[in-house]
Symmetry: C2
């Protein structure tokens, strides 16, 4: 029967059990039993059943500890055989598996720890102080918008320049050899140029900062959802990303430069809002108030919005993207700040691009809100196949191979195509190839293949009817689709929007050309460019599955509201049809990475579960006055790596769980240990500076690992008073609370730890992100993911 | 010193102390002390200090009960003299005062009561059942969109027809008398026609359903915020509103028909989603699952969005309006449903209007997404003056007077204007008046005054340069401004969008005409129509203070994305400048009504306050097993009218507060009493049907008053078992929790009651909406509003 009780398994942790920066810590997942041979009756409470479990073994004994669970699922529908049949032994190394939930990701804490220090600071602050903070927030958002726009501008210009030089050289070469023969030399030239550019980009990404690969959108989604992805908002990532995307787009891969913009905006925001750069070891001593997860997230939302805004010239779309993908609590003021950042970003980009194009001041012209910046590419089998090319060198070589293949395919398509079109009166195409066409004509295949994808999309939308013949478009669609799919798995900075749009535009236009021949009746929409737009929207919508924000982005990018309704209908249809088969690309990506991502609501049929069943227990708790040795030992235990500890008041009978009186975080304890805030020392050294909130902020977000803190044997016997530093009013729920209710509280408030108490307020368990994320609705009802230390 | 502890005062409750539907109940505000001469040691707990307080007296003794409070405010900045100096005696009847917080408004409960019945139902439901529910939600949203679009269509056509007939008659008359003299007869005809139409509308509103007056937007804002405004989503209100708005717009008042559309959409949603009409006494027995506040709110959001969408042809703007004004928890699925309703609504409107205009199928033409539907008018002194004309007859007469004055003023303006313009080649204006102009010319003042406001706005936007002379525009702006201000206070169904747009467009165009003469340099924007658009946006933005949603609405309504950036800038500026002086119109409206409206966040400087200070105490609690007599007595007490009661387990020492084990609502108790769910009866009548969730849903939302339930003396001695019906896991907070933290929990989860407990989980207080809404940030720091039974 119900196998939902299948329990935690770990793969071996390998040799990196250090717990340092490079080793992601466990996020307080209490499923991991921690057993300590505590000599004294110290102030540490093991609540519930204390069992000695070998961490290398499956915790099967746990099922006995929760006998009610399997009984309760009497009428929950069946569970998939695969889960039932899977052996109880620990799974082997499966790096990417959607049936697992990784334990390596930490959570972010979007609920401020309102401890005494914090409250004191807030109370000291005058009304004017809050006004200043509010103004700083606006200033920061303005800066974020400005810098993001500037970066977009740099990328745009760099890509244009590089691609321009490349196409110029190749075109010269082709023209030279068209007459005399020897076009294979041109092909080789093109392939080599592409490969070199891509190689530079791939090397940067693979060897310097692998997290900069791809579009970065799934990572930003996770960040906004509350999952800490290591190194995702670092300056180094930004530099590598920007450089990488210039190389890969200029290198002719089937990728766009828009997704990376979103990631870039987020990094800018995370950096600017903190007023310092840890990488550059530079602290400007400003914006110190914002050095915590809650505030930082708000700015990262603004950054992501500014990125979308710069990428597509769609400020409203940017705000909606941020909200649709990330935020859960809609705050009007925050929304306006995000909107402000988006506006500044578009404005900056427009301003500098207009200067670059020698048309300064021409901001309101529709040409600047062009259809120029997007990204993507899909198809799962290929995608999954790609995931196993892991070694950096292989990655670089694969990227080069793809670049060469892309050039070769493009070349052959152009070469064997005999679709000549007369040159229009306006030479709007920059890179028209005459090739074997008659004078005054150009090769129409070349307008799509011998061009940056952005320009190709625009050509498909706006070229007059008759510019393309159906065969060309069909060939192009199929070829480009496979190229894009292959490209998506590469370790280069790249987006999927533009390739999706390009593929969609191609088959949309094809459809538009073929339709009148089939229906025979006079078409209302004579212009196939409109079909291209609708096709592009459908393709992109089917891949990323956004509706509201994508509608606005498309409308803002086309600059024409009248297409709004058809675009909406098409996106809605794409979403419904797509969801029937498989999730959106970003969600698949997140699932494959086994990220503990919290969706909007708990699964529909999860009312069977209560906090008692989902919580982790027993919980390691501290006393208000705790021995330093105990704390150090618990923090050093690499097999548990808890991040949050309830602080309790012991009750009379010493073996019962204590009453909750607060919650303290690992990071706070680390700072306390580092500053040696011990009761005994405070007594002896009366002059010692009192620990302030500033000390915590300075350490944020890269708190040192416990191993770097040295505590002498004498100090181990000292006591620490946690009262002042713990959050005295953590949110709690009774153990009978249903899972959807727990989920709602957790998600709405962006919690990291939720303490489960009994009727006497005694701590009986702790709910963390993984405890909630592991339930999901499968095809056959509620399923539970396995936890794994991948 | 800190006078924040100023306490509750009541005006006399008058003669309507019945507690029925007509008498709004107190919403569990525990500030009102309830004293019962309880004879036995029944199961009712008065927690904390029990004091006998005369309700007609100011509860000054209360300050002693909370000695910590005034001490704690040592460093909160000063408070306004007015509050300090106000006499301690109870305030006299002050119907509208922004310093008061009314106790007459009940709250909605956006947190489902997860009692046993509910959980059982949820657990019984299969995965398929949830899918069906999800599909029903989509169907309902579709229906909402369709019906809202249909209503918009009816209003539009009716107004066009009526106004057409009216202007035709008046024009004929004017043309007849222009030559022969005697234009005063035309004036009288016009005034009489206007007055009659307005009279019909005003009578309907004033005598049948006064809540249908105005735009209804503040009421919908309150509803979405969680405040129950009586009769606001009834069918009767909808009918009166639609009829009233047709009359007032056709009657030539300075009003728009767009705000009422938003209200109408909300009413449609509330009706359709419940699958029945209480007014028509018709229950379709469908959608029973949605008969609770949580679900209903979601549909009302969709309805409001559909209303905006139909009014302005702005589906995305509609979604944003709903979210910006109402929602706090952003749920992706919900957003998509709202979006769907909006789309259907626009589509329906377009479809039927295109049929009406004999252009079926012409859906994607920009002409249908026209600038046709908006609303408003302001100026506080006049507005406040109007508030005191209360008696229905006076209201009707005032409305007629305004209609006549509007006609007279318009007529004089046209009469005395000598601004003749040549007729254009296309006779686009329907009601051009030649009057004293030469043949082939028309009176330009008449295009703005002798027209529906929508058409006037469009003329101001789109007429070619030179159509208006500056004097005309200046005169028009000033006159129309005062007319609109006067009109706003009337008891007619009317919106403020269109008048605002009209005024803004007029001075915008004026500015556009004057600018080139001042600067002398060649203007980039030669077209004053663009200035008109920007002026309209600025005026409207300054009045309603929306930014994101209004930007999108304006852009969608103009059908041109390129104006997006200037509109954004103008709206942002309008908001910043406006907020410096006074709040937005809707917020002022809400404040004047003393509605306990919860803003997005707690006031910045409120970290001084904790749950202990804001909560109501002592709390009336029940036992799990409670005597019927006790329950009836407590519910019947009209001086308290609590709506939520913690259920407790008594602790050993009987005078101590009990431990929380649940929360039960007045409405639930009423249903239990009505069905006589008594322990003794259940034993004797074993065959009795068990009470089901359906019984609660059937009674929703108009639960009978306690007075209508008859309990015999024998039955009073029976016991009721509340375990099955109470919510066993209410959210609780410790008493040390800071106000911002309490606020966040309350607002994010849409709570109605939040139980405050001590370290042993004993009930010490209850926080309700009014306890949180009464703190706000004034010019001099934190202020506390007085509670009043207005």
């Amino acid at each position: 029967m119900a196998n939902i009780t299948k329990k935690v398994s770990w793969t071996s942790r390998g040799d990196d059990a250090g717990g340092g920066e490079g080793t992601p810590l466990l996020n307080g997942s209490e499923e991991v039993r921690y057993t300590r041979q505590l000599s004294g009756v110290g102030g540490m409470f093991h609540i519930g059943r204390l069992s000695t479990v070998d961490l290398e073994e499956d915790v099967t004994s746990d099922e006995e500890a929760r006998p009610t669970k399997s009984q309760r699922y009497g009428s929950v529908s069946t569970y998939p055989g695969s889960l039932q049949d899977s052996p109880k032994g620990r799974p082997e190394e499966i790096p990417h598996n959607e049936k697992l939930l990784s334990l390596k990701f930490e959570s972010l804490d979007y609920d401020s720890s309102e401890n005494q220090l914090f409250l004191e600071e807030e109370r000291r602050m005058s009304y004017l102080g809050f006004r200043c903070l509010e103004i700083s927030r606006w200033v920061i958002c303005g800066l974020i918008g400005f810098l993001t726009g500037l970066i977009a501008c740099c990328i745009d210009i760099a890509v244009e320049k590089l691609a321009g030089v490349k196409y110029f050289v190749v075109k010269q070469n082709i023209e030279k050899f068209t007459e005399v023969g020897g076009l294979s030399i041109s092909l080789i030239l093109w392939a080599v140029l592409n490969s070199s550019l891509v190689m530079v980009g791939a090397i940067t990404v693979a060897f310097i900062e692998p997290i900069a690969a791809g579009s970065g959108i799934p990572q930003i989604k996770c960040y906004l959802n509350g999952v800490k992805i290591p190194r995702v908002v670092r300056l180094k990532t930004l530099v590598v990303k920007v450089f990488g995307v210039i190389c890969s787009v200029a290198g002719g891969l089937a990728v766009g430069k828009e997704g990376p913009m979103i990631h870039s905006g987020a990094v800018v925001a995370a950096g600017v809002s903190q007023g310092r750069s840890t990488s550059l070891k530079k602290d400007f001593k400003i914006f110190e108030y914002f050095r915590r997860d809650t505030e930082k997230r708000d700015f990262v939302s603004a950054g992501a919005a500014a990125g979308v805004s710069a990428a597509f010239g769609a400020p409203v779309g940017g705000v909606l993207f941020s909200l649709e993908e990330g935020a859960s609590f809609w705050n009007q003021m925050l929304t306006w700040r995000i909107f402000f950042a988006s506006m500044i970003s578009t404005f900056t980009l427009n301003f500098f691009l207009s200067i670059y194009n020698n048309k300064p001041g021409d901001l309101s012209s529709p040409g600047l809100i062009n259809f120029g910046r997007f990204e993507r590419a899909v198809s799962l089998p290929v995608f999954q196949g790609m995931l196993y090319v892991h070694r950096p060198c292989l990655q670089v070589m694969e990227a080069m191979l793809v670049a060469a293949v892309t050039a070769t395919v493009s070349f052959s398509m152009i070469y064997f195509s005999n679709d000549c079109q007369p040159l229009g009166p306006d030479q709007s195409e920059d890179y028209q190839l005459q090739l074997f066409c008659a004078d005054g004509e150009y090769n129409s295949m070349a307008t799509t293949f011998f061009n940056t994808p952005e320009r190709s999309v625009r050509s498909l939308f706006h070229n007059p009817p008759g510019s393309y013949n159906p065969g060309t478009l069909g060939m192009f669609t199929v070829t480009y689709f496979f190229l894009a799919c292959w490209t998506y798995g590469l370790a280069v900075s790249a987006g999927v929007f533009i390739p999706s749009l390009l593929i969609g535009a191609a088959w949309g236009r094809l459809f538009g050309i073929l339709l009148p021949t089939v229906t025979a009746s006079g078409s209302i929409w004579a212009d196939p460019g409109k079909y291209a737009l609708i096709g592009a929207a459908a393709q992109l919508g089917g891949i990323v599955r956004m509706t509201l924000s994508l509608t606005v982005i498309m409308v803002e990018a086309t600059g024409n509201v009248t297409y709004g309704l058809p675009i909406m209908l098409v996106l809605m249809t794409a979403k419904i049809v797509g969801d029937y088969f498989v999730e959106g690309l970003y969600d698949i990506h997140i699932k494959l990475q086994s990220v503990p991502f919290l969706h909007w609501e708990a699964p529909a049929t999860s009312h069977w579960l209560t906090a008692r069943e989902v919580m982790g227990a027993p919980v390691i708790c501290f006393n208000r006055l705790e021995k330093v040795g105990t704390i150090v030992d618990i923090l050093s235990n690499t097999s548990t790596n808890h991040n949050g500890f309830p602080v309790v008041v012991p009750v009379a009978a010493s073996d019962e769980p204590g009453k909750i009186c607060g919650l303290i975080l690992r990071s706070q304890l680390i700072v306390l240990l580092k500053h040696k805030v011990f009761v005994e020392l405070a007594r002896s050294r009366l002059t010692q500076r009192k620990l302030q909130l500033k000390d915590f902020r300075d350490a944020y977000p890269r708190f040192p690992p416990i191993q770097s803190i040295h505590v002498s044997q004498d100090e181990r016997d000292c006591m620490m008073d946690l009262s002042e530093f713990m959050n005295p009013t953590p949110y709690t729920v009774p153990q009978e609370t249903s899972l959807p209710r727990v989920f709602k509280l957790f998600r709405a408030l962006g919690l990291r730890h939720l303490v489960v108490v009994d009727h006497d307020n005694r701590v009986v368990g702790l709910v963390t992100r993984k405890d909630l994320a592991r339930y999901h609705l499968g095809k056959h009802g509620l399923e539970e993911l396995q936890l794994a230390q991948t």
